[in-house]
């Protein structure tokens, strides 16, 4: 992997654990094995780095979701795949969704970063709208968008709260309760 990608890999892990504010050029540099000036070479400002991270994250989400079937016959596999994207962040050293944690820091994010974080939300919610429309046909068309938003919010919240207990079972129980209550298809 080239230096630029190594920087992004290390920085991404840091943000998912400690947030954007905790990103620190010297710390990333040490982990990658270069100097902080080299990071500025690839990412002139911290905002540039944050934007690159969030942008890549949103792109990857977009690609992942595009690859999932919306066909009702695959509903279980699709919902499981979606949930496991969030679940796996927790499994990876109790980390959070990159954009979920950045959402908490939103007011301090450079606009360019904020824009990409928002794009991640849009990518998720608009995919969920399509999913809900297909899998919950009994839901009034006017309620689809808010249900999609609710599912996304609930999952982000489950991750946030479960992370506090550092116990993946807490996340699983929360998701199970969402299903039983009828929030998730």
């Amino acid at each position: 992997m080239d230096t630029k990608n190594q920087i992004m890999t290390v920085a991404k892990a840091t943000v998912q654990s400690h947030g954007y504010n905790a990103l620190n050029f010297r710390e990333i540099a040490k982990e990658v094995g270069v100097t902080s000036a080299s990071i500025h070479y690839y990412f002139p400002t911290k905002g540039d780095l944050g934007m690159a991270l969030a942008s890549q994250y949103a792109d990857e989400a977009d690609q992942l979701l595009s690859g999932l079937s919306l066909d009702p016959k695959d509903s279980e596999a699709t919902v499981d795949a979606y949930l496991s994207a969030f679940r796996s962040a927790l499994l990876n050293d109790n980390r959070m969704c990159l954009c979920g944690i950045m959402l908490a820091e939103r007011d301090d994010l450079p606009i360019e970063v904020k824009r990409e974080v928002d794009r991640f939300t849009v990518v998720n919610v608009s995919w969920l709208e399509k999913l809900v429309a297909r899998l919950v046909p009994e839901l009034a068309a006017s309620d689809v968008a808010e249900r999609a938003l609710a599912i996304f919010s609930a999952i982000e919240g489950a991750q946030l709260v479960a992370r506090g207990s550092a116990d993946i079972a807490v996340f699983d129980r929360t998701i199970s309760a969402y299903r039983k209550a009828g929030l998730l298809p």
Copy 2:
């Protein structure tokens, strides 16, 4: 209001907007009209201040919840009162639940702060367990705890995500979807 309370008021507002990490002795001091050394007089370390804030917040939540009726005949008023506690944070300059935002910074919090943040979660979830047990009698006893956790997680998530749009209507629509889906009593 005495200096100590003024400090806590200003600090609380800062954390609810920008998180614990953004707390800054000089900034608080300027807003209160004292010097940073005076803040150290009341709160020797930043961890002491953070702990005091989270502790007070958990206490206030405890008091608020203790005052709410669990009687099914008051269910609507009780649930509304609970939701409005979270809603009002957003109305107050798009702020978040103090402990919700601290949950995102959990790994960087001094232990004494973490402890109080966790207590806030416990206060909420255990009250919700009592509420769910009373208001959702058809729910199996073994599912009450996870439903309570799910409600708390979903509300925290709704706040986090809605905050991103800086539009209270987004929060309201999310809560409305939770109700329609059957997550909230």
